[in-house]
Symmetry: C2
Subunit: 432 residues, 2 copies
């Protein structure tokens, strides 16, 4: 069956799905959870084949770790489903209610977007997560996983889809398996309302530049710490270490550390030794490398880099360093080289904090804390769709509300516009 056929009725399925009750959608999540647990052996079995294939193909250890699906990963996705079940219904929230005139009442009501397409590389748990989010929010999901976990994905999809369809409309979840179908998918603007890509920078960039369907997500995460002249040095050091090394392969890990010239002589020696001890390779331009050498001699290695290369995303034990003249140079650097994701200023000066927060054009502007906090769970959203660096619809960590839109419902009693144009009637606009 071709892709167009597979997606032919998905819009109308989406409308039926949007009309289900909260109980039906929660029951579906319970059914999915129970099916995942009772059929976990067949999932693990399929995953073993994928992992073995990956090992044969010589994929890196970190990739292989990401594509594994074991009891621990299962427990984590089950936790996620449980927390989704406990969240309030995102459908039917009254976002605005206003009487326009006697007997003419307007409501803005939250409704699902309709059909969400998730395209993801490796990480089979992403399939479970996004399928559950779509079930909770009443959206149809079109799922395309990476070929590295095709066996795991197939079993996971079948288990989830069968369990969900015991309660929800048949066809609410659709799986795409062929890589050749991705380009076809990108042109299905009639069937798909939103694409959420998850994967490498290049992968997300490719998706974003090859479709007119709205895309929500982020390509890269070039996050910054700016160590201001008014920084508390101990705080700055602690945050540098956390932001760089607590988990290096995630988008909100710091990639560049900007150091105010006025504290560089105090800060750099301790910073450089700490990073070096943590196994972090420092990269810096001539100025930084020169200053480091003057301060620490040949103790600490620094990889020379060009001034134009500061948009590097390492996702590893490495970071770019630069000395800046003042806060405005730091802001200009971040707005030019950053990815508008998460950037933090370390300073004791409140005015500088406000200036930084207002002038840095990023989804998450922070002060005196690690960039690693930008995350739906840490922000208390309960469930996370992903992090968006786009400015439309949703920005930053996106909770369930990112999968919702709204519609206006206007209840009249024979009202016509002509009466208001002629002046026979006037709007009274009262919130109700």
């Amino acid at each position: 069956m071709g892709l167009q056929d597979k997606l032919k009725n998905i819009k109308s399925t989406g409308i039926s799905l949007a009309a289900t009750t909260q109980k039906q959608r929660n029951d579906a999540l319970i059914a999915v959870k129970e099916a995942l647990i009772s059929q976990k052996e067949s999932i693990f079995e399929a995953n073993k084949i994928d992992v073995a294939t990956a090992e044969e193909q010589g994929l890196t250890k970190s990739v292989i770790k990401r594509l594994g699906f074991d009891d621990k990963k299962l427990a984590s996705v089950i936790d996620g489903i449980d927390s989704l079940i406990s969240l309030p219904d995102p459908i039917g929230k009254v976002l605005l209610s206003r009487s326009l005139d006697e007997g003419l009442d307007l409501y803005r009501i939250s409704v699902p977007i309709g059909v969400i397409c998730l395209i993801f590389e490796s990480r089979p748990d992403a399939l479970v997560q996004i399928a559950s989010l779509c079930i909770k929010s009443g959206n149809c999901a079109v799922l395309k996983g990476g070929s590295e976990t095709k066996n795991t994905n197939r079993v996971l999809f079948n288990v989830i889809s069968k369990a969900a369809s015991s309660v929800l409309p048949e066809g609410s979840l659709v799986q795409i398996e062929e890589r050749s179908e991705v380009n076809e998918l990108l042109s299905c603007s009639e069937s798909i309302d939103l694409i959420i890509p998850r994967g490498s920078n290049a992968f997300v960039q490719y998706i974003m530049s090859h479709t007119t369907i709205p895309v929500m997500g982020h390509a890269d995460g070039v996050c910054h710490l700016y160590i201001d002249s008014d920084a508390d040095i101990e705080t700055a050091l602690k945050i540098c270490l956390d932001a760089k090394t607590q988990y290096t392969s995630v988008c909100n890990a710091v990639e560049t550390i900007l150091i105010n010239k006025d504290i560089s002589d105090t800060f750099i020696p301790r910073f450089a030794r700490m990073m070096s001890e943590a196994g972090v390779t420092l990269h810096g331009n001539n100025e930084f490398a020169g200053r480091l050498k003057a301060l620490c001699g040949d103790d600490i290695y620094c990889e020379l880099m060009n001034d134009d290369d500061y948009h590097t995303e390492y996702l590893d034990y490495a970071c770019s360093c630069k000395i800046v003249d003042d806060i405005d140079s730091a802001i200009a650097h971040i707005n030019r080289f950053g990815s508008h994701h998460s950037d933090s200023i370390i300073t004791q000066n409140k005015e500088k904090i406000e200036h930084f927060m207002n002038m840095v054009d990023s989804a998450n502007c922070m002060s005196n804390c690690s960039t690693r906090f930008s995350d739906g769970f840490r922000y208390g959203f309960g469930a996370e769709v992903g992090i968006s660096t786009g400015k439309l619809h949703a920005r930053g960590p996106v909770g369930l509300e990112g999968l919702m839109t709204y519609k206006y419902k206007l209840y009249g009693s024979g009202h016509i516009v002509g009466d208001y144009v002629s002046g026979t009637k006037q709007f009274h606009f009262k919130d109700i």
Copy 2:
């Protein structure tokens, strides 16, 4: 100067503009208003040249009417600017405030999107309107008007831009004049955050399918009235007349009237005579035309149409008619042939109203009133960016908030993620 050069610094100009105070932006609007009034003669002069050229080129009367700019249009845009000045500041609204832990406070704050591009055909008042909306909301505006009003647009732009830059950052408003630059514009995803196209269906479709920049707007407005078997006939007739004839060339005018078969014999004769007297040509499939002939003889002319042609947008004294079996057939028809814009059910039955509102996948679902109500001013939004039939970001009539996004500001006091991962600290998530 090439387009890339013109737009080179616009992102950073946008950041400075976003940091202006409400007073500065309102002062700029006052300056714009005064400049428009004091220089109105040169605007009218330029407009006369455009109108004369249009007449020479034999453009239709309705187009020529749209591209005129006279005292009445000026008064209307001045009214718009006054109402914008009186609206609250859209920047800096606290949309969420939450303490994540002791000394770690999260805020979601409204900020401008950044750089908005308006591409519009004819209607020079659109230039004034969108420029004022962008000034109020702190967004940079890139304006490309239709070539039919290039003289008017040039003068309007110079007047507005000069007045605004007496208060706001130089370069906050940019005009594009060459048609050849539009395609270049569509690829400027680095500089432009959002495109708002205004014009014909084909024009908007073209923009939407030739850019990866987010687009907000609507291509067509194929709006429906469904006359249910439980409709009050007098109400239904009154609303049909208003929705079709009150203003035919607008997107929320009705284009198709669906009539429940159970009331067709009572409704059709009165409906057909009323429409005919109002100068509206009826179009219908075989079933409707046959029924009309059986009921009214050859009194009323009906243009035969195919069942597949029900997505026609007339924007004129014409409408498609169809007899449907029941409410679900009406809903299925609307979801298939409509443009998800504005659709209204006429019925006395409350359950049917709810069913219709929930199952029709449109931005504006209505009952017992004219589709012509879907409009930012009639909804009480004070200012209108346009009407969006997209589901992302903003849907339906879009007020100033459609030009806004938000950023997260997270204020810490030395917080690191490691403490929460290790369990040393726990989030407490308290709304503040």
